[in-house]
């Protein structure tokens, strides 16, 4: 395998695709816009101050919803995990809820809470809280029984087991779930802004669609992709830093 040849083939593919797009799009007959127009539309996110407030609204709603949803999911998981009976009762009910495309709840939340930032945060929280919940419940349930027995043989009481086994397991599961949760928080915010809002990145996507301007919409979508990519990378870094002790074992 020749790495240099592959790199050249990749660069060629990108150049040919962009060039074709530019040529066909510049014709203006197909409403596919052009890469240059998209680049211009993206630069507006840097230069136009009203776009900054769009961005900050989206991030606020996503951040609030993320915090709310993660706290709710963690709290619920801890409650369910304290009793074996409770976790048996709750697991299938929550499994059914998990099968529901929760993102479909957006219109219901708009009806209930309006179109403000708090309404979006509630919706985001409802859309995501099952992710950390599920991760924590499964993480704790899959603790190696041999580990628990070993700890018990070594004389650990309830408090020791909590501190040395359960809390690290919950923390690890929570941390793993955060990447997925963050991506969905952003997506849910964008969707609810598309459906009803007067500002925000999702609102700009809708504007682009209404104006038949794919460049505006695509620029906003690429911005979302960039944001979720950087959030994901930083969470992955935090995760690998804090989880380093695991590999040592």
């Amino acid at each position: 395998m020749n790495m240099r040849r592959i790199r050249i083939a990749q660069i060629l593919t990108v150049v040919i695709m962009l060039a074709t797009w530019q040529l066909v799009g510049a014709d203006g007959r197909y409403h596919i816009s052009t890469p240059l127009e998209i680049a211009r539309a993206m630069s507006l996110w840097v230069t136009v101050p009203t776009r900054w407030s769009d961005l900050s609204r989206t991030l606020q709603a996503a951040g609030l919803g993320f915090g709310l949803g993660v706290s709710l999911g963690t709290l619920l998981a801890i409650i369910v995990l304290t009793s074996r009976f409770l976790s048996k009762v709750a697991t299938p009910i929550i499994g059914a809820l998990n099968a529901l495309p929760r993102i479909a709840l957006a219109p219901a939340f708009i009806m209930l809470f309006g179109i403000g930032i708090d309404a979006k945060a509630y919706f985001v929280a409802a859309a995501i809280f099952l992710i950390p919940f599920y991760n924590i419940v499964i993480g704790v349930q899959s603790i190696d029984p041999a580990l628990l027995q070993n700890v018990r043989i070594l004389g650990a009481n309830r408090r020791h087991r909590l501190r040395e086994v359960y809390i690290p397991a919950v923390a690890a599961a929570l941390l793993t779930s955060l990447r997925l949760t963050a991506a969905w928080s952003l997506l849910a915010t964008i969707l609810s802004e598309y459906i009803a809002a007067s500002a925000g990145v999702g609102y700009q996507i809708r504007i682009g669609q209404g104006l038949l301007r794919p460049d505006i919409t695509l620029a906003a979508v690429l911005l979302v992709a960039f944001m979720s990519f950087s959030i994901d990378r930083s969470l992955a870094t935090i995760q690998s830093r804090t989880m380093r002790w695991r590999d040592a074992g």
């Binding site: 990749q10 964008i190 459906i195 682009g208 794919p214 690429l222």
Partner: protein, 256 residues
């Protein structure tokens, strides 16, 4: 587990659900919560009956299932082909990888507005969205599957005298089918979600449209009614996928 415990769990579940629904209904009837905002189980039931008897509920369900079937079906075909190619050829994998990473980072379900501008309001943008959401799960899972087969299994089969035809029928096809089924349930859940979301973005058909239409008409009961129908369909599909998955992977348990 004793018999009593075996009954206690489902009984508590049914009791909890009945209690929840009953409280909701009573609270709405007595005016303690505003039924115009929070609806009530009986109002939702009436709304579902209305949507059904009006004649268009089944029609919209069919539309959603059609989008889901077309998108997911093509995702399975393309994902399997791509996955096998990626698993077999290391240089193809190296070539495709950065593109996969890029497209995978794109929030694909919110690309629907762009697809609508490009392809109009027909089925195409929705099918494309479902396809794009499902195809990556399948591609990545199948290629991982092929790569795990590459080692021990293939070497052992070769040593036992298998030619490429034996390898294909006895190693690759069962192996790939297994990994496909393993990813199908998760991919299907996301695909269903993508279908509903795609119908939010300016559509005239499907369950997602029924939900948005109800919102536009400020009809709370119909929103909840459509959501309940969506939940029931999602739950049924998920149960079917889970049954297929556990039946086809049962033999694996024997190995450990």
């Amino acid at each position: 587990m004793t018999v009593r415990q075996g009954v206690a769990v489902p009984l508590t579940q049914a009791g909890l659900i009945a209690l929840g629904l009953g409280t909701w209904e009573l609270a709405a009837q007595s005016g303690w919560i505003d039924a115009r905002n929070f609806s009530s189980p009986s109002l939702i039931y009436t709304a579902i009956l209305f949507l059904y008897s009006e004649g268009d509920l089944l029609f919209h369900v069919q539309a959603t299932l059609k989008v889901l079937g077309l998108g997911f079906g093509s995702a399975v075909i393309v994902g399997m082909t791509m996955g096998i190619l990626l698993g077999i050829s290391a240089s193809f994998r190296a070539y495709v990888e950065p593109f996969l990473v890029f497209v995978n980072a794109l929030p694909r379900s919110i690309l629907v507005p762009v697809f609508i501008i490009w392809f109009g309001f027909g089925m195409a943008p929705k099918v494309l969205a479902v396809f794009l959401v499902a195809v990556f799960f399948i591609t990545i899972n199948v290629s991982t599957g092929v790569r795990t087969l590459e080692g021990e299994f293939v070497v052992n089969a070769r040593m036992l005298g298998a030619d490429w035809r034996n390898l294909a029928t006895n190693v690759y096809i069962p192996g790939v089918a297994l990994w496909l089924l393993g990813s199908a349930r998760v991919a299907f859940g996301y695909a269903f979600q993508a279908a509903i979301v795609a119908e939010f973005f300016g559509a005239f058909l499907g369950l997602g449209y029924v939900i948005v239409r109800a919102q536009g008409a400020f009809s709370v009961h119909q929103i909840y009614g459509a959501l309940v129908v969506t939940l029931m369909i999602a739950f049924t599909l998920d149960r079917i996928a889970a049954a297929v998955e556990s039946r086809s992977t049962r033999w694996m348990g024997a190995r450990a």
